[in-house]
Amino acid sequence: MPNTTLTLTKSSIKMFIRNKQSLFFTLFLPVMIMAIFGLIGFDRAQKMDIGLVVGNPSKSTQQFIDNIKQVTAFDINTGDLETEKQALKDDKRAIVMQIPDNLIPDPSSKNPPSKQVITVYKNISQEQQAQAAISIISQFLDKTTLTITKAPALFELKTETINSKNVRYIDFLLPGIIAMAVMQMAVFSVAFVFADYKEKGILKRLLATPLKPFQFVTANVITRLMVAIAQTAILIIMGILIYKTHVYGSYPLVLLISILGGIMFLGLGFIISGIAKTVESVPALANLLVFPMMFLSGIFFPINSMPGWLQSIVQYFPLTHFAHALREVMANGAGFSLIAKDVYWMLGWSIVLIVLANFTFGFEEKRV
């Protein structure tokens, strides 16, 4: 009766769409997370805050100051020494420089230039920015020295720009969010719904009909794989429209990975619904597994920023491979051969989880 599975699938889709809770977890939550992290924009270049204390600069010195102000990485404030030092203490400046009025000698002046001192106050808590700022200023000073002493330039740095895929944080994030969304949907929608069916005796009622449990499970799996495809599509479209992300690899490959990820985590969902005695115990059980994965599988930050011992554990997580495969294809344009390892890991996990699900999950109440 292929008709039966089809009708059951239709009913199951209706029930999924009408369930507000599952819609929230499936679509609304990932979209929210992406919107929030997209707004934060971790990869926007942070400017260096520099305080300048200038008295009454000579013409050439003013020229020098104007040049510094052109540097895009600098956010320059000018003020008297007291206010600027206070600002530094309040962590609002990386460095504060006190610039002598006659820092740069007037080119028309015949006097030999004397050594000038710039006092730099450094903010220890912004060590990196301070160092970077100081080295940029030093370069300016070196260049000026060369110009004034009229020494020939012995070296030149010739830079050529080559167009690269500028992987921004949002490009890194989007594939991870898709993997996370599919995982949440697969685990929670199955675990909750089937624990509920079991608790209410709906599975038992179905067992009193000639229906094969396999047909019912198939209808529910098909429904959720369709949802996984919809989630992937919606999040990608949102990324493209709002965050101008690009998918460099092939779309069919992206969808295939999502489906495989869906199958893998549906297995986990069925395991949990089999173990859970009541609907109330589902969130605890599911979050025990889902939460660590969510934060440790390279969804929000790269795995290689973790300590080595942790990396050696999380590299085996199913979500790690799912997110990595998606990211390689979407952000780096990888083909199948480059993500084959991830795909094999996902296949392996799928088999393990489905076999385990067969042990824990059944239509019949397991009587002790």
Binding site: N3, T7, S11, K14, G201, K204, A208, T209, P210
Partner: protein, 305 residues
């Protein structure tokens, strides 16, 4: 094929515990068969073994010439089931629900006609969780009828319902009965069995104690009826003791209480004696034995304690 269900030495054991202990009975085509007994007697387990929901430890159950052990799916295709506490999908309305269940049997049904037959046609847009207890039970029966089953199993269909809803349920079951369907019903309400069932098996502690029509059960149980009355002129008790069928007479307050094992004979004799002995009877009451009394006599316990 007059017997649609044949159960022989049916046994269910959970480890050391025996839930159903080698029971045998047959159900005729078109009959309404009741299994009566207290909680924990093994009624539900018996039903669920016949329905193919629980494995059979020993013995066999044949339904529509199909052995349940070997052809459970074929049996399930021709039966309709109402479980003791079954619930249905919350996300579907009643019409969609019946359609979904019909598809399981590879059928199409006229959902509205079916809903009308259980008096829920104006509720077709509702979700299950919006129904009352009685409405849920009626829906459960509609779902059980979706495949036009040969046998309808009802497991305590009126437990937990208020008297009005119970009456409605009885009417509904009678309707289905009139259509000629075989019904197997469990209950711990004696009155329900007396009203609905053609034959009743009384179960207690995993065994069938007796099996007969409600009428015969009452008649043959030896449980007597009670006749109470008052008189204007006193008459010696020995007179009443001599009346046919009378087992015992006691003088209470201003009247008499006679225990009779055959009130149809006792009462005319009593009226004859009224004229002979010149007294007048008033406040005459006859309380017939019920299946409740039969159960009490068989087991020495009350049905619901």
């Amino acid at each position: 094929m007059n017997e649609i269900i044949r159960v022989k030495d049916l046994t269910k054991k959970y480890g050391e515990f025996t839930a159903v202990d080698g029971i045998s009975f047959e159900v005729k085509n078109g009959e309404t068969f009741g299994i009566l007994g207290p909680n924990g007697a093994g009624k539900t387990t018996t039903l669920e073994m016949i329905e193919g929901l629980k494995s059979i430890t020993d013995g066999e159950a044949i339904l529509d010439d199909k052995n349940v052990k070997e052809k459970a799916r074929e049996v399930k295709a021709v039966i309709g089931v109402q479980l003791q506490a079954s619930s249905f999908f919350d996300g579907l309305n009643l019409k969609e629900l019946l359609d979904t269940f019909a598809s399981i049997y590879g059928r199409k049904v006229d959902e509205m006609a079916l809903l009308k037959s259980v008096n829920l046609d104006d509720k077709w847009k509702s979700k299950v969780k919006e129904l009352s207890g009685g409405q849920k039970q009626r829906l459960s029966i509609a779902v059980g009828l979706v495949n036009d089953p040969k046998v309808l199993f009802l497991d305590e269909p009126t437990t937990g319902l208020d008297p009005q809803a119970r009456r409605n349920m009885w009417d509904l079951i009678t309707q289905i009965k009139i259509q000629g369907k075989t019904i197997v019903i469990t209950t711990h309400y004696m009155e329900e069995a007396e009203v609905l069932c053609d034959r009743v098996a009384i179960m207690d502690q995993a065994k069938i104690m007796v099996l007969d029509t409600p009428f015969n059960l009452l008649r043959n149980s030896g449980v007597a009826s009670t006749i109470t009355f008052r008189v204007d002129n006193k008459c010696p008790e020995v007179h009443f003791e001599k009346l046919p069928g009378v087992e015992k007479v006691t003088n209470e307050d201003h009247g008499y209480r006679m225990i009779s094992n055959n009130p149809e004979v006792t009462l005319p004799a009593l009226f004859n004696h009224e004229t002979e002995c010149n007294f007048k009877i008033f406040d005459l009451q006859l309380r017939q034995a019920t299946l409740e009394d039969v159960f009490l006599k068989l087991t020495g316990r009350k049905l619901r304690e």
